[in-house]
Each structure stands twice: as structure tokens, then as C-alpha cells.
Amino acid sequence: MTPNTRAILMDLAQRMGGLYAPDLKSPYLAGSAGLTAAVLMMAAEEGDRTAHRLVEENRAIRVLLNEAAGLPPPADLAERLRNLAGGDDSNLRISALQAVNDALRDTLTDLHAFVETQPGDSAAGLNAAIWSELAASTRRRAFASASF
């Protein structure tokens, strides 16, 4: 559908921040309207990329979970890794992708804690790969307006 969601939200953000907020007499409402404009702008950015970043991230985490099989992890963690490592994100609804992402990041958190305690080059390599993915995860979520 045209105009798309991103274009609509960006336009609403500009109207809210540039047109409506300056005319509000209440400092509280003017401040709230300014913040609403900033949030709408972020929503435009996030709405456009959410499905892409979730699919990309889910794939990247599955690679890490598969790499852990050789360590090997304790039985309960190993079972969770097996259950999650084979997903394919066939349902592209954001709610479905987010649920899978939550399960993957939850398991990645536990895998990371386990890997940190393990000796050897394989564990060190996986630890470095997890940190690298965590850094990438923040780049996927960063906003253009952020100061850091």
C-alpha cells in the first residue's frame, strides 16, 4: 500500500514536532508532543527494518548455537540448543519472529555463561563470536538520531 508506513510515520513526526508542538501553550504538553514526534520518527525507522533485523539475527544466533555442539554443553542446555538450532523463520509476522528471537537470545545468554567457564580454543573462539554477534545486535537496533 502506498504511502507506506515509514513515510506516514515520518510525516506525522514532522507535523507533530514542527507544526503542532510549538503552538501548545502548556510546557508539559509541548514537551510531550516533542517527544511523541521523536518516538514517531523512531517508529518509522524501526517499523521498516524490524522483520529484516529479526530474520538476520535469528540466523546469526542459530549459527552460534550449532557451533556449541562440539564443546559439549550440559544436557539441558544441549537439548535447548537442538530444539532451537533448526528453525527457519517461515512465519514472517513480527510477533512470530520476535517470539523466536526471544527464545534464541535467552538460550544465547545461557550458552554465553557456559562458554565463559570452558577452557580451550574452541570455547574461546565461540566466546569471541558471541561477543561479535552481541555487538552486531546493537548496530541492528541503533537509531539514526542516537547521540551514541
Binding site: 508539559y28 510531550s32 518516538v39 554465553h112 565463559e116 546493537t138
Partner: protein, 344 residues
């Protein structure tokens, strides 16, 4: 029970009970202003006839919200302000603390308004304020040094704030904020969980002294003028006693680099800020200890940001600042933790 609207008449009726010799008490110009997500803040004008004639005062009323984002004690905040009033730490005069819900439905306090100054962190980034960034930064870190130097026992704050042992400050704070994240996180936080593991495995040395910790000492929580002078330190709602490096680490947090560069709080480079604080406080910022407290403050920040997300999701607070916190601040906080651990 349904609340009545907050009106000038209700506030005037309350103030009448607190001003024994006053009559014809009137309140007008009541307007809500932004002032943190944990209290509702209002500006108002008070007029009355006193023993020496007509009196007019500009006041601030801070009232508890229906549901608070971060649990804080208003009596502690009130006491912290009072403790520093008239000292080298500029704060507004506290007038009345009311913990009974009868007068205005929820507990509140009333203070003088320090008028005529700015508080916006982004306002500092352009002239005429940006021309005085170094002076403002020097004043900011000097004031924090004064807070850190102060004796909380002599100020009487031990009567309201628990006094931790010097070697127990770090665990108390980390336990608390990890508990907040445990209770409020809606989605997994792998970066901050790894941060917590590192902090527990590498504890800092005992605090060199027990200080007053402001709890939210950052650009955005002080009033400043066009000449580079700070006139009021605000938002003491998270004040407590603890390791002075906690406040230093919070103020140095990368998420407060409003200017998009490395100047902390948008004012001064990190090392310069530390030097000023050391001189004013008479304390030392041991690099390893400060590193721990800077990293800890990423956990504390994330506790606030995940609580913001939960408050919005639960519907208890729908202020747009909470979405801003849940998205942008949370992401920047993760990046700050990664940077401190050398993984960004």
C-alpha cells in the same frame, strides 16, 4: 477511590494549613512541567498576606504518580535537598513534605522554584550555552566533588538512609539493580547479563569513604545560565549513601554524551572531568575501581530502561519518554557496556 482534579484551590487550602500567620492565600498559574518519570511535577504561583505584608512566591510541587516507575522514597529525596540547602551544592529550598493522601490524593512535597534558568541537555549544544561548555563542565564536576566530600552523618542523612559498610556498597547496588532487571525485563538482555557476570567476578575495592550519592547526577538534572554557572541540582529521588565513585561513574556514562562526541555530559572529556572531581572531593578515582562503577552504571541504566518498557507495556504509564527509554536509551546502554568491556 476516584481522585479529584488537582486545582489551585486545593493547593491553596493545603498551604493555608501550613502557614500559621497567613491569610488570603491564593494559588494560580498552575501548570504541569516535565520533571522525571517517577514524580508528577507542577509549577505554581503562591500569593498571600503575611505578617510583613503581601508575599508572592514561585513554587514547585512534586507529587507521587499513580504508579511509580522506580520505587523511591519522597522523604529521602526531601531530606537530601534539605541537607545541602545553603551549601556549595546549589539546591532549591524545600518547604513542605506531605505524606498523607488526604490533601492532594497522593503524597507530595512543595519547594521554591529556581526561576530563569535552563535544564535541557540538548540546549547546551548550541550558542550561547555551548560557548561556556568548559565552565559549565568544571562547575558540574566541582559540585559533584562537594557532594562526595560531604559527611552524610554530619548532615544527618543516616537517620533516613541506610549506611552501608565500605566493602558492601558494590554488592548492595548490584543486587538491587539485577533484581530490578529480573523483575521487569520483557525480553532477554544478553549483554547486560554478561556485564553482571563480569562485575560479580571482578568486585571493586571497598569504598574509600561513605558518601552521599545523588543517584542521577547527569546533564539534564541541573539548572544552568548563559555564563556557564549552575544554579540548582535537581532530581534527588534516587539519593542514598554509598561509594562516591557510583555518582562519578553515572555522570561519565556514554549515554549522556549528548553532543555525539566523547565529551561526557556533552561538556568535558572524561579525564578532565575526573581530574576536576578529584580536586573538589579530595578523593581518588582509582582507574580499576572507577571502571567497575562505570560498568555497574550500565546495569543500573538498563534497570531503569527495562522498567520503562514494562511500565509502558503494563499500561501503568504511557508517557512517550518511556518508549524513548525502552528503545533508544536501552540500545545506547548496551553499546556503552560493550565499549567498556572492549567488545564494541
Amino acid at each position: 477511590m476516584a481522585e479529584e482534579p488537582l486545582t489551585p484551590e486545593r493547593i491553596a487550602a493545603y498551604i493555608t494549613t501550613r502557614l500559621a500567620d497567613a491569610h488570603d492565600v491564593e494559588v494560580d498559574s498552575l501548570s504541569r512541567i516535565t520533571g522525571g518519570a517517577s514524580r508528577e511535577t507542577y509549577r505554581l504561583r503562591l500569593r498571600y498576606q503575611g505578617g510583613d505584608g503581601a508575599v508572592e512566591r514561585r513554587l514547585i510541587l512534586r507529587r507521587d504518580p499513580p504508579d511509580s516507575l522506580i520505587e523511591t522514597q519522597r522523604d529521602v529525596e526531601f531530606a537530601a535537598y534539605r541537607a545541602f540547602y545553603g551549601s556549595a551544592v546549589p539546591v532549591p529550598e524545600m518547604l513542605w513534605l506531605e505524606e498523607d493522601t488526604g490533601p492532594l490524593d497522593r503524597p507530595f512535597f512543595i519547594a521554591e522554584e529556581i526561576t530563569g534558568f535552563e535544564s535541557s541537555p540538548t540546549g547546551l549544544l548550541s550558542p550561547p550555552f555551548s560557548d561556556h561548555a568548559e565552565a559549565l563542565g568544571t562547575h558540574k564536576w566541582t559540585i559533584l566533588g562537594e557532594i562526595s566530600r560531604a559527611d552524610p552523618i554530619a548532615l544527618g542523612l543516616d537517620r533516613l538512609m541506610p549506611v552501608p559498610e565500605p566493602d558492601g556498597c558494590w554488592a548492595r547496588e548490584l543486587d538491587y539493580w539485577e533484581g530490578v532487571i529480573d523483575a521487569d525485563q520483557i525480553e532477554p538482555q544478553p549483554i547486560i547479563r554478561a556485564t553482571i557476570r563480569w562485575l560479580r567476578a571482578n568486585p571493586p575495592p571497598p569504598a574509600q569513604k561513605i558518601s552521599v550519592v545523588h543517584g542521577d547526577y547527569r546533564t539534564g538534572n541541573f539548572l544552568y545560565d548563559k555564563e556557564g554557572v549552575i544554579h540548582g541540582i535537581l532530581d534527588w529521588e534516587m539519593a542514598h549513601l554509598g561509594d562516591p565513585l557510583e555518582d562519578l561513574g553515572w555522570g561519565l556514562n556514554r549515554i549522556w554524551c549528548w553532543g555525539g562526541d566523547d565529551r561526557r555530559g556533552g561538556l568535558l572529556p572524561r579525564e578532565q572531568a575526573i581530574t576536576i572531581w578529584e580536586k573538589a572531593s579530595g578523593l581518588k578515582a582509582d582507574p580499576a575501581a572507577l571502571h567497575w562503577w562505570e560498568l555497574f552504571n550500565c546495569v543500573k541504566g538498563q534497570g531503569i530502561w527495562v522498567s520503562s518498557a514494562k511500565a509502558w507495556m503494563d499500561g501503568q504509564n504511557r508517557e512517550p519518554i518511556l518508549i524513548f527509554s525502552a528503545w533508544r536509551m536501552l540500545n545506547m546502554q548496551d553499546r556503552a557496556a560493550l565499549e567498556l568491556m572492549g567488545h564494541l
